[in-house]
């Protein structure tokens, strides 16, 4: 069974990533030319904010401060920084919707299989909602790219390389004593 501390660290780390997602999508709104993509990002800024907020309320229940974030491991922070620096719209969409959200979903599912669903039921409920949210976000992007094929990324190697880099980072949660805790 995961300890209270382990569960709190996971929730706070995922909150960090959702806040990062909110900020990154928001930052891309003015610098992305396509109107339909701006609208997609604008909607998902709000989704990411709500996801972070739900996790931030849960951190308080897990003996951490309210709306508390914990910085992930350095390798993951580096990955996030590289994604944020991406410029072309097809790469931006692929990085978030094909790689990151999908990978976050996989990490959430692994957490669900590891935690006690009765003891940790409030976290489970939040995670289940976030999985549904993220599936909706990915579907919205898929539908948009079907409508506007110019938004499709044709460089499969780029996408697979990023996917492999994300998958190789384990753990994402900096459980070690040297973990840097951040207020968001």
């Amino acid at each position: 069974m995961l300890t209270v501390k382990e569960r709190g660290q996971f929730v706070a780390t995922m909150r960090y990533i959702h806040v990062w997602l909110m900020e990154t999508l928001a930052g891309w709104v003015p610098s992305t030319p396509e109107l339909e993509v701006k609208l997609l990002l604008g909607e998902h800024v709000w989704d990411a904010a709500q996801q972070a907020d739900a996790l931030g309320k849960r951190t308080f229940e897990l003996r951490l401060p309210l709306q508390h974030s914990v910085r992930p491991t350095d390798a993951y922070v580096d990955l996030l920084a590289d994604i944020r620096a991406v410029g072309p719209t097809p790469q931006r969409l692929a990085a978030i919707y094909d790689v990151l959200l999908s990978a976050m979903g996989a990490r959430y599912r692994r957490y669900l299989s590891a935690t006690d669903t009765l003891v940790d039921a409030p976290t489970v409920r939040i995670v289940e909602r976030e999985l549904a949210d993220m599936a909706r976000m990915m579907e919205a992007c898929r539908a948009l790219r079907e409508t506007l094929p110019a938004l499709q990324l044709h460089d499969d190697d780029w996408r697979e390389s990023l996917r492999g880099r994300e998958a190789a980072i384990e753990p994402v949660v900096a459980y070690a004593d040297g973990a840097v805790a951040l207020e968001a």
């Binding site: 928001a26 930052g27 003015p30 701006k38 609208l39 604008g42 909607e43 990411a48």
Partner: protein, 259 residues
């Protein structure tokens, strides 16, 4: 303020403002409001012009809310939530205007667009200052204009009138949360008042340099302003500004924006 959004600056009429946000190549970008076509009246062409302009205005509101989320990671979380929600609202408004514009025969990029609202607000380096200009000046002013303009839309285009009613209902909440947070921030951090004064002074400089339009003859809606969270003192200040507008058309910029 972080440098997450790497958009530089440009000079308009001698004033340094933020460079334009990214737009699709179909758009012709101009730099002053009066360069955007506005023939007035209620003809189909006039309505297309206005919907095209409104689509870009809503897109700028989305971009301003978004850059506020990105630029101020240390802002109170509850305020960031409000701004994030505004991103969604403005995205929906943009989509509504774009759909309506196309429904009456418009083609994206049919008319030039100006992004002066963005260029002014995104240049301001404090969140309180941005809210003072974007929410309290531009959005609150545009709501008073809407009270006059929506009945005119209704005479010829009921569907667009209903759409604008729905949009204005959302905008009420944006002005309210900005007023609430400006008051809270000012109470907790006195320098916020200086940031706001600096932002408004910057807006005045931009308007003085760029406005060649006559002020609109739209009186302050006292009851409406009260419902938006403005205090009686603040409403009196807005009314005093109306008199100043005869010599200095600051509100004209706000009025024209959402017309």
């Amino acid at each position: 303020m972080t440098e997450l959004v790497a958009i530089g600056t440009k000079v308009v009429q001698g004033v340094v403002v933020r460079a334009d946000p990214a737009r699709e190549p179909c758009y012709e970008i101009v730099h002053l409001h009066h360069e955007v076509p506005d023939q007035g009246g209620t003809s189909e062409e006039s309505r297309r012009e206005r919907l095209h302009r409104e689509t870009n205005n809503e897109m700028q509101s989305l971009e301003v809310a978004a850059i506020c989320v990105a630029d101020f990671p240390d802002a109170p979380w509850e305020l960031r939530l409000e701004l994030a929600r505004q991103c969604w609202d403005e995205a929906r408004h943009t989509a509504l205007c774009d759909q309506r514009f196309k429904a009456i025969g418009g083609r994206r990029g049919q008319y030039p667009i100006a992004n002066l609202d963005w260029s002014v607000v995104a240049m301001i380096d404090s969140l309180a200052g941005r809210m003072a200009v974007q929410h309290r000046t531009f959005e609150a002013g545009s709501m008073e204009v809407a009270q006059v303009k929506i009945p005119l839309w209704r005479e010829t285009d009921e569907e667009s009138a209903e759409m604008f009613e729905a949009i204005e209902a959302d905008e009420v909440q944006h002005v309210r949360f900005a007023n609430e947070w400006i008051n809270r921030l000012t109470a907790s951090e006195p320098r916020t008042a200086l940031q706001i004064a600096s932002a408004v002074a910057f807006l005045r400089r931009v308007v003085a340099a760029t406005a060649v339009i006559e002020p609109h003859d739209i009186a302050t809606d006292v009851a409406g302003r009260q419902s938006l969270g403005f205090s009686s003192g603040e409403i009196a200040a807005v009314q005093r500004q109306e008199h100043e507008l005869r010599a200095f058309p600051m509100r004209a910029l706000a009025s024209e924006r959402h017309e």
